[in-house]
């Protein structure tokens, strides 16, 4: 146990003292916190008390001066039209030439020459995607509709009441609200994918590196090989969890401070129910460890770090398949495929998590899936320890897992005899 703790400490220090690990973690944590804090930062520039709604409604207090020429007096009330374009103020010109000159000299951003009630010309120096043209078109249309209704003695409310009556509806969700759960489930499954692929490779690389720099012979003669592989795999797991907690935590803390600025619009991402966290922790960690032990044993079967990606590609494909099944099942979290996959060790971590987070699942199903995954983890750990012991002193070409298992069995038989 002492040896295991020493290996764990040493390996953890390798991760936590690694400059790239520290930089990546800090950058992602700052990025997560910064992205969540964007509305508050903008609000800070614009003055206190602004929410995301305020920001989106009145994003710019500076009035842009726009020219307008209505020689035929087609618009009854120009100020009414102006009110429909917040952020812009109208500079009325008496003639087209005057307006064009003002545009050319950039006294005004652009200009509109009104021909009649439903015809106008947009005058601009350089056409760009600034949204003014569209905004004016909408305001002009609305003005046209209002004036028409006024002429006919109708109000806009009356027309709206007929064309778009307010339908009152309500919803009672008896099971899970998969629509609201979708985003955070997606984020957590994707997070697990990144952790398994990234840290799996790191664990395999760490083991192979010790083979390629020949430190392994000193290590296996100094420490029990079980302590060695368990220490390495768990150090990878702990670092992954720490990195995740730091990044997610910084985002969540930042959201705690900026929730008002968001008007609570990100609650559905950050206010994840405890049961979902628990499912993610249990199934995520077990699934992660299962793959980590497999990556560990694959690392022991190659001698050069450049061979890892080739040796690890089958297990990576299996995990990608598990990930894809989970992604496709998010729109049908009670489907047959995801149900079956939630009891297969290699796919259970993602599939059962999705069922718990988004679908309807019985307690016995969770327990059975958890038990299968736990037993698989233990089996993978024991097998990884044996393969590690066998593979560590085998140099040269990568050894296939099937060949290693066969040789291991032969070796055990030979030693018994």
């Amino acid at each position: 146990m002492k040896q295991f703790l020493w290996v764990l400490k040493f390996e953890l220090e390798n991760y936590f003292k690694n400059k790239s690990f520290i930089i990546v973690t800090l950058v992602l944590a700052v990025l997560a916190a910064g992205m969540v804090a964007v509305p508050s930062i903008i609000g800070g520039f614009m003055g206190d008390g602004k929410t995301i709604d305020d920001v989106s409604d009145h994003g710019n207090n500076d009035q842009t001066l726009v020219g307008l020429c209505d020689e035929n007096f087609s618009i009854a009330d120009i100020r009414e039209l102006e009110e429909k374009m917040p952020g812009y103020s109208f500079d009325v010109h008496d003639s087209e030439q005057e307006l064009r000159k003002a545009v050319e000299t950039e006294d005004i951003a652009a200009g509109f020459i009104i021909r009649d009630k439903n015809t106008y010309t947009y005058v601009v120096n350089n056409n760009s995607f600034d949204g003014l043209s569209l905004e004016f078109k909408e305001a002009f249309l609305l003005q046209y509709q209002q004036e028409y209704l006024r002429e006919k003695g109708l109000t806009a409310e009356e027309i709206t009441a007929v064309s778009k009556p307010e339908i009152v509806s309500d919803m009672e969700v008896l099971g899970k609200d998969s629509v609201n759960n979708y985003i955070y489930t997606y984020i957590l499954v994707f997070l697990m994918y990144v952790l398994v692929i990234f840290y799996g490779q790191m664990i395999a690389t760490s083991i192979t590196a010790e083979k390629s720099n020949r430190a392994i012979e000193i290590l296996v003669t100094s420490v029990n090989s079980n302590s060695l592989i368990f220490g390495k795999v768990l150090a990878g797991a702990v670092s992954g969890i720490v990195q995740t907690v730091v990044i997610l935590g910084s985002g969540m803390i930042s959201y705690g401070f900026c929730r008002e600025a968001w008007s609570g619009q990100l609650d559905f991402i950050f206010q994840i129910p405890a049961s979902v966290w628990a499912a993610f922790a249990c199934f995520g960690i077990m699934g992660y460890l299962l793959y980590a032990f497999i990556y560990g044993m694959l690392g022991a079967l190659v001698s050069k770090t450049e061979d890892i990606s080739k040796s690890a590609s089958p297990i990576m494909m299996i995990y990608i398949a598990s990930f894809m099944i989970a992604m496709f099942s998010m729109t049908n979290s009670d489907g047959f495929l995801v149900k079956i996959c939630s009891f297969i060790p290699f796919t259970a971590s993602n599939s059962m998590f999705i069922r718990i987070s988004m679908g309807s699942v019985q307690w016995w199903e969770i327990l059975l899936s958890g038990a299968i995954l736990f037993a698989s983890c233990i089996a993978a750990a024991l097998l990884a320890a044996k393969i590690f012991r066998y593979g560590t002193m085998m140099y040269g070409n990568p050894i296939k897992l099937t060949k290693a298992l066969k040789n291991l069995k032969q070796q055990e038989n030979a030693t018994k005899n």
């Binding site: 010790e210 020949r214 430190a215 392994i216 003669t221 002193m393 030979a414 030693t415 005899n417």
Partner: protein, 305 residues
């Protein structure tokens, strides 16, 4: 302490690489484990270190089964390796702690051996920044940091310059004198002759010669003479001996400065000297042949050369 290896056999797949290796080594003595490349020395050492399991055979210490983890063993493997990107002190202390040393012991021993081997200035340097010779000395520090009762050194002198070799020679002599049990594998026979009272020569996975080195040398030189003539190169001298003295001698080897001959059964040195004195040659040297370990090794393990 008496370490006894009895009839070790080891196979990799269908191929048996050790065909019954046996030897004995005691505390305060060094055993020279010799053999050509691929003879089975490293496999034997790895079985001792419990890296591999033997298919059969037994290893005992004072009559009890030898369990590697019950002893502090200083092991310098043939394939040197530590963490190149780690600081020297950090990794040596880590390895010492894995072998059960307390933090204080590990630090004290580290300081002692770094100083003893003249590498204390590299304490906080990354291993990869050191020269090959200094990396080799750091390897020796990791071997000795745990106060080993048993020391197994596989080619310890490789990569060391003559000055550092002398430092290491002194260290090994101290280890032997302080009662450590030393197993020493090397191709450099002069070092083996200096340290080892006993030798084992392994060839193709089996022992071809073992025992007390002085006795082996004496036995090996028995009935052998070294002859040199002033007026004849060794090859001509060897030809003459074969032609004229075939009833007394047999040429065993031709060296650059003379010929080694073996007396035939029942022939005395006096009789040979009498015949040689009356022969047509200017005898320059006539004496007992004292074989070097290299000669013995080449003869016993050099069958495939």
């Amino acid at each position: 302490m008496r370490l006894e290896v009895k009839d070790l056999r080891k196979s990799f797949g269908e191929r048996e690489v050790l065909h019954g290796i046996s030897f004995v080594v005691e505390s305060g003595k060094a055993l020279g484990l010799l053999g050509r490349n691929g003879a089975g020395k490293t496999t034997t050492i790895r079985i001792l270190m419990d890296v591999f399991k033997a298919n059969s055979g037994e290893i005992t210490v004072d009559g009890r089964p030898f369990v590697t983890k019950e002893f502090q063993i200083g092991y310098l493997p043939e394939e040197r390796g530590l963490y190149p990107k780690k600081e020297v002190a950090e990794q040596i202390i880590y390895l010492a702690r894995l072998r059960g040393m307390s933090a204080k012991e590990a630090k004290d021993n580290l300081n002692y051996w770094l100083k003893r081997l003249g590498v204390e200035e590299y304490r906080n340097r990354k291993l990869e920044t050191l020269s090959k010779g200094n990396q080799q000395k750091v390897q020796l520090v990791q071997t000795l940091v745990c106060n080993p009762e048993i020391v197994i050194l596989d080619e310890p002198f490789s990569g060391l310059d003559p000055v550092n070799s002398q430092v290491l020679k002194d260290v090994i002599q101290e280890l032997i004198q302080s009662g450590r049990l030393v197993i020493f594998s090397s191709h450099q026979m002069s070092y083996v002759e200096e340290f080892c009272e006993d030798i084992v020569i392994i060839n193709h996975g089996e022992i071809v010669l073992s025992g007390y080195l002085k006795e082996i040398k004496r036995e090996y030189g028995k009935d052998r003479l070294f002859l040199a003539a002033e007026d004849q190169v060794p090859e001509i001298l060897a030809g003459k001996i074969t032609e004229q003295f075939a009833d007394l001698l047999q040429v065993a080897a031709v060296k650059k400065d003379g010929v080694i001959v073996k007396l035939l059964d029942g022939i005395t040195k006096k009789a040979v000297l009498g015949r040689l004195a009356s022969a047509d040659m200017e005898l320059e040297f006539f004496g007992n042949y004292e074989p070097s370990l290299t000669d013995i090794f080449v003869e016993r393990a050099g069958d495939q050369v």
